[in-house]
């Protein structure tokens, strides 16, 4: 027979451990296997794992303090005072042999918690780490995106170089605050992915790695690696930190491991990865794509529109997106405003589509995502593609293809409708500001792309 026991007392200094000792000794005498978790003033020691709880034949709680029982729903459980652990250990253990112990059904809340816990433990760990990063990132995207959206919508003026906000105006300050929020987006994503993998020692290398990933200047690239680079940085930092933790370390050095050695080495590792390995391919990818697009100018405008739409949605602010956007902007200078018209329609599809998707089917999105969906709608209206990043980062394989299809459709319709745009910026806001020729086709393209992408992603996604 395998038993588990928890002991706990008011001060957690003495009785907790006496009861634990006695239960262990008595179990040994009776030939019963037991593991005792002590919840004393040192904290919880000898904590049970989910597997141990699963395998246990019964749970003894000998405590004069409230013990959370939600872990034990569905197990035979006997609860008593800590004194019984000290004096009646034999009775307690034998009780489970005679079979006279009811199964703990739990209150409603603990049943829910247990289900959640089970679902969590069954989740793929990679997905769990990603989720952790995304959940911390969402508020940064929402705050940053909403402020930027507000500033652009109310203070922006269309110019040759995009929507500009006059310097010195209040909206310029709002924009800067929003930009500050966006600056943290990728570092927070990477940092909390790494922290989920390696606990606290992972946070610093993850955030630093995320910052490097998001700033191309570290590796001589015009654009950073975007959120996809951030995800890579988070996982690399996390697993490196976790690996360093397994090194055999002399006891004397152990205290400085989590605050000095692990963060330092893992940060250097992830920084080297970007500076020496990932950086150059990103820069050459951008050069290659730019050359490729320039070569496409004579080809079919529909193929070009499909390609640009796909590129805009692929990494939302990452290098591929940047190449497509800069290509469109350079075409305005060359007198061709239709390329930017197609891109402008594609730009707003990812956030608008994800916002609409959360409204269409709430069951597929967690509460935080539903809130992020509303913010994404606002960001979409002013052409901030990044609004869809929380969704794409959490579930890239379902979200990215969907929004790519939506953006491609919007882009092609705009191109076929001869939509022109002489401001390098996207979303409905440029039409409202009068920069779009043939706005009807522009909006038809956006709406078609948004709804197709929203339906597609909801079909692909499972219920939460």
């Amino acid at each position: 027979m395998k038993l588990l026991a928890i002991t706990s007392c008011p001060n957690g200094i003495a009785h907790t451990y006496m009861a634990a000792e006695n239960l262990q000794k008595t179990a040994e005498k009776l030939g019963v296997s037991i593991k005792v978790e002590t919840q004393g003033s040192i904290g919880v020691e000898n904590e049970f794992t989910a597997d141990e709880i699963e395998a246990a034949d019964g749970i003894i709680i000998a405590a004069d303090k409230t013990v959370d029982k939600s872990r034990f729903v569905g197990k035979r459980l006997f609860e008593t005072g800590v004194q019984d652990g000290i004096h009646k250990a034999e009775d307690l253990i034998k009780r489970f042999e005679t079979g006279n112990v009811p199964v703990y059904k739990g209150d409603h809340q603990s049943t829910i918690n247990k289900l959640k816990e089970e679902r969590k433990s069954k989740q793929n760990p990679v997905y769990r780490h990603l989720m952790n990063g995304v959940s911390y990132m969402i508020p940064f995207v929402v705050v940053g995106g909403l402020l930027i959206a507000l500033a652009l919508a109310l203070g922006g003026e269309p110019t040759d170089t995009g929507l500009a906000i006059p310097e010195g105006s209040m909206w310029n300050k709002v924009l800067s605050v929003g930009a500050a929020g966006f600056t943290f987006m990728v570092p927070i994503l990477a940092g909390f992915i790494a922290m989920s993998i390696a606990d606290r020692p992972g946070l610093a290398p993850g955030m630093i790695g995320g910052y490097i990933a998001a700033n191309g200047s570290f590796y001589d690239s015009e654009a950073g690696a975007g959120f996809l680079g951030g995800i890579l940085a988070g996982f690399v930092a996390g697993y490196v930190a976790k690996w360093i933790k397994t090194w055999p370390i002399p006891k004397m050095l152990q205290p400085i491991m989590p605050i000095l050695v692990i963060p330092l080495l893992a940060s250097l590792a992830v920084a080297s990865l970007f500076i020496f390995i990932v950086g150059a391919p990103i820069a050459s990818l951008m050069d290659g794509l730019t050359a490729f697009l320039n070569g496409m100018q004579g080809a079919s405008s529909i193929v070009l529109a499909l390609l640009l739409g796909a590129m805009i949605s692929f990494d939302m602010g990452g290098p591929v997106n940047k190449v497509a956007f800069l290509f469109g902007a350079s075409m305005i200078g060359a007198g061709n405003t239709e390329v930017m018209g197609a891109i402008a329609a594609a730009i707003c599809v990812p956030p608008l589509a994800m916002g609409v998707a959360t409204l269409l089917n709430k069951k597929k999105y967690e509460e935080a995502e539903q809130e992020a969906g509303k913010a994404a709608l606002a960001m979409g209206l002013v052409g901030i593609t990044e609004g869809a990043i929380p969704f794409a980062a959490k579930d890239p394989l379902r979200v990215i293809p969907s929004i790519m299809v939506g953006s491609m459709l919007a882009s092609v319709i705009a191109m076929l409708g001869n939509v022109g745009n002489n401001v390098p910026h996207g979303g409905p806001v440029v039409a409202v500001l009068g920069a779009i020729t043939n706005p009807v086709m522009y909006f038809i393209g956006i709406l078609a792309g948004v709804f197709v992408a929203a339906f597609m992603v909801n079909v692909l996604k499972k219920n939460v």
Binding site: N11, A14, Y17, I42, I86
Partner: protein, 151 residues
Amino acid sequence: MKLTDLTNRELISTELKGSTQKEIIDEMIEKLDGVGVLKSKRKFRKAIEKREEEGSTGIGFGIAIPHGKSKAVTSPQVAFGIKREGVDWKSADGSLAKLIFMIAVPEESAGNEHLKILQMLSRKLMNEEFRESLIHVQTTDDAYKLLEEIE
């Protein structure tokens, strides 16, 4: 760290004078105060009494471990005393307390090594042989040697 890092010969008494629970508590508090770890005897006594009200610290087997966690304590300390005739400590098993450990723990302190040591003491007291040896010691030195085993 060992238990003897938290106690010393002055805190060990092989013949407690008091004949009631209250007298013995007072007597042991005086000893702790004597080595200068209490900022306020009154506040520490309150912590001890409060713990006894929550449930007797007479754990049976002839042992009582009155303990208090209080801001009035400057550093963790253990006093040990023997009362051979025994004293009523309202123990769970009705036995009289003969071996008494008074434990003083600061409200907040750096690290938890002292808690680990107290944990080892608690676990050791569940050992019958150890209890037998303790009750039979005659001199402070013998008692000190036994407590030295706890590490």
